[in-house]
């Protein structure tokens, strides 16, 4: 049986690691992400995801620099994304040490870019990040452009589309759950996991280790979290132990 993965996420704004709460950035956790990565390396985490959420496209250059600094210290697979709008920047991130590219808006506005990147680097290199928003009507749609633009496409429909456009993995997030400490958006996560045959990474809202278990039981292949891993000693190692005790097959330390 394929082992489930535990992923630590670094949300970067202008090179600093920030806490994100419903896509607003409330506080700076680290001025230098390297310090966090040094710990995650030792603490049994399986993968790292770095997301550039700066409001400004000019942040792309500096972000690639941070990816380069991190990749030199990082001993697990590293995914990087944010402001990937052309093939040359995608290549720059990969050359900086990223193993996978995380794309979001491009799947909506430049489908040809995601297709060509997938063809060039392989499907396993392309992660589609999806940001789901639940509207007052009760309907959920996928948002792009850092949660600003509504695609009016349902999560399941979107998941199928991104797989068709070359995604080898889906990074699932819910804007309403992001930083809200109430666990993953399980109903929609479950639907998405059932709709596609690529691995789905659950993200957004983790506040207890049980939330990680809930996400994996909902069908996700990997459980990811950001804020919670930054606030206690040996956090990811403790999370792994909890997963083991809950009977989830994970890579041992």
């Amino acid at each position: 049986m394929l082992k489930k993965r535990l992923i630590a996420v670094l949300i970067l704004r202008d090179g600093q690691v920030v806490q994100s709460v419903r896509f607003k950035h409330t506080n700076v956790i680290h001025y230098d992400a390297v310090h966090a990565v040094e710990c995650f390396n030792k603490w049994a985490v399986d993968e790292l995801v770095m997301l550039n959420v700066s409001p400004d496209a000019a942040s792309a250059k500096g972000f690639a620099e941070v990816v380069r600094n991190i990749s030199g210290q990082c001993f697990v697979p590293l995914s990087a994304g944010g402001w990937i709008t052309d093939a040359s920047y995608a290549e720059e991130l990969l050359r900086s040490g990223a193993d996978k590219l995380v794309l979001n808006t491009a799947f909506h506005t430049q489908p040809e870019l995601t297709q060509s990147l997938s063809a060039r680097y392989g499907r396993q290199c392309i992660v589609a990040s999806m940001d789901v928003k639940q509207h007052e009507s009760g309907q959920a749609t996928v948002m792009v452009n850092r949660g600003r633009d509504d695609t009016a496409i349902s999560p399941v429909e979107w998941a199928k589309q991104v797989v068709a456009l070359g995604a080898g993995e889906i990074f699932f997030n819910s804007i309403d759950h992001d930083g809200a400490r109430k666990g993953y958006n399980l109903p929609i996560l479950t639907e998405v996991c059932h709709a596609v045959d690529v691995p789905v990474i659950a993200f957004g809202g983790v506040f207890t280790w049980q939330h990680l278990v809930d996400g994996l039981n909902a069908g996700a292949q990997a459980a990811a979290a950001a804020n919670i891993f930054h606030y206690t000693e040996h956090s990811t190692r403790k999370a792994k132990r909890y997963l083991v005790e809950a009977g989830i097959p994970v890579r041992s330390e």
Partner: protein, 430 residues
């Protein structure tokens, strides 16, 4: 430079700060979050009691009479932490002090007072003066910090003791960085982490990074070596912050400790702040804080006035007046530390040259450094008006607070104790 619309922090404030859409900084938002209705302090106290019960249970199982460690300096927060845990919760804490070496006589008076009044056991570690000098000199040159040893020691030594004596809990007071600039939120129940220690307290350096630099040896850095992950896990030690569980109010706590345990503020005019009851044990603080001004263009008066503004005890205008008066002043103890490090004042200033933040410092026509901006130069506009904090009756500069804050027009009454009434220009190693 951009300044917070509510308090006086600039965007280059340390350790890290972020402004929201309304121009308010993360430190103000953290402060505001403490008074929100949804913060259930009763249930948080319940959580604290559970943690303390667990520590007592573990200590008993281990046959250990100490159930927790409280790192103390002798300041107002140390007094309150020990008082709360010992008197209110019946714990038997082991007090642990990493000797700053740069001790003020007032601080030593208060540390001794704390040990006497609490009746607790104390372990105090003093690093050799020569090694302190080497570390201070090197870190001053490298990152403009002559207090690296005790910031590192304060965060490391309690864990060394925890591992050695098999004590499972370390109780810190407030999360200082959260209070200042809001680097974490109240909802996350942040615990002590090794990386905050490295990233902030030790400025990105682990002890081993320093060996061989400036004559620094392994022996010099031994007090700052954190126990291994295995040792920490074996002891199951965790470090919690009381401010996550207790509705923390530093001024109220100081007053309580003055009444209950005879904690003593100083009564002399300090060189770099109007606050008479915080950081008074730390003799080097004035130079340390002056370095912050030389690097980033703001100092402790900005910190202290911002806190008063957030509490509504000072208006923005009153705070700015304090910043204008104190933040640029060269402390009288600068000479003391230059002598200790074996450098001249000119050399000291030259060392800081390349550490000045170019966003705030530039040389003027005469070649002297001049700040490009200051919060004092910013008029109070619509954005700031909108963020004004509701003022409370308890004014910082009122007669009732005369012993806690220095008011030029109404200075505090002398206490009759020379160590509290006259600032010492020399520090005491022991």
């Amino acid at each position: 430079m951009r300044y917070c619309a509510r308090c006086l922090y600039p965007e280059n404030a340390k350790p890290t700060i972020i402004f929201d859409d309304e121009g308010v900084c993360s430190g103000c938002r953290y402060h505001e979050s403490r008074s929100r209705l949804e913060v259930d302090w009763a249930s948080r106290l319940g959580m604290l009691e559970q943690i303390l019960d667990e520590a007592r249970r573990m200590a008993k199982a281990r046959g250990n009479c100490h159930d927790c460690i409280i790192p103390v300096s002798g300041g107002k927060d140390s007094h309150y932490q020990v008082w709360l845990l010992k008197k209110k919760y019946g714990m038997n804490p082991l007090l642990v002090t990493f000797n700053h070496v740069y001790n003020s006589p007032a601080g030593l008076r208060n540390l001794s007072n704390l040990v006497e009044k609490s009746g607790c056991d104390l372990i105090r570690y003093t690093a050799g003066v020569d090694s302190v000098r080497r570390l201070s000199r090197f870190m001053l040159q490298t990152v403009g910090d002559l207090t690296w040893h005790y910031h590192g020691g304060i965060r490391t030594f309690p864990f060394q003791v925890a591992v050695k004596y098999n004590i499972p809990l370390i109780v810190w007071g407030e999360h200082g960085f959260a209070e200042l600039t809001g680097i974490v939120s109240l909802e996350d129940f942040v615990e002590f982490t090794r990386w905050t220690r490295k990233e902030h307290d030790m400025r990105g350096y682990e002890p081993h990074d320093l060996i061989g630099k400036g004559g620094i040896t392994l022996g010099d850095v031994a007090p700052y070596i954190y126990p291994s992950d295995e040792e920490i896990e074996k002891t199951e030690v965790r470090g919690i912050y009381l401010s996550n569980f207790v509705d923390w109010n530093a001024k109220e706590h100081a007053e309580l400790m003055i009444r209950e345990w005879d904690f003593a503020p100083v009564a002399y005019e300090r060189d770099r702040s109007f606050n008479l009851h915080a950081k008074i044990e730390d003799h080097a603080n004035d130079v340390h804080d002056y370095l912050k001004y030389l690097k980033f263009g703001y100092g402790r008066s900005t910190d202290d006035a911002s806190m008063e503004i957030r509490h509504g005890r000072m208006t923005r205008e009153e705070g700015i007046a304090q910043v204008a008066y104190y933040d640029h002043r060269e402390p009288r103890t600068l000479e003391t530390y230059c002598d200790f490090l074996g450098i001249s004042k000119t050399e000291f200033y030259a060392l800081v040259d390349n550490q000045r933040d170019p966003r705030i410092w530039a040389r003027d026509a005469s070649g002297a450094w001049a700040p490009l901006d200051s919060v004092c130069r910013h008029t109070i506009g619509e954005v700031e008006e909108k963020q004004r904090v509701k003022q409370v009756v308890d004014r910082t500069m009122s007669d009732a607070n005369r012993h806690l804050y220095y008011n030029l027009a109404n200075p505090p009454q002398p206490t009759g104790n020379p160590v509290l009434d006259v600032q010492s220009l020399k520090f005491n190693v022991m």
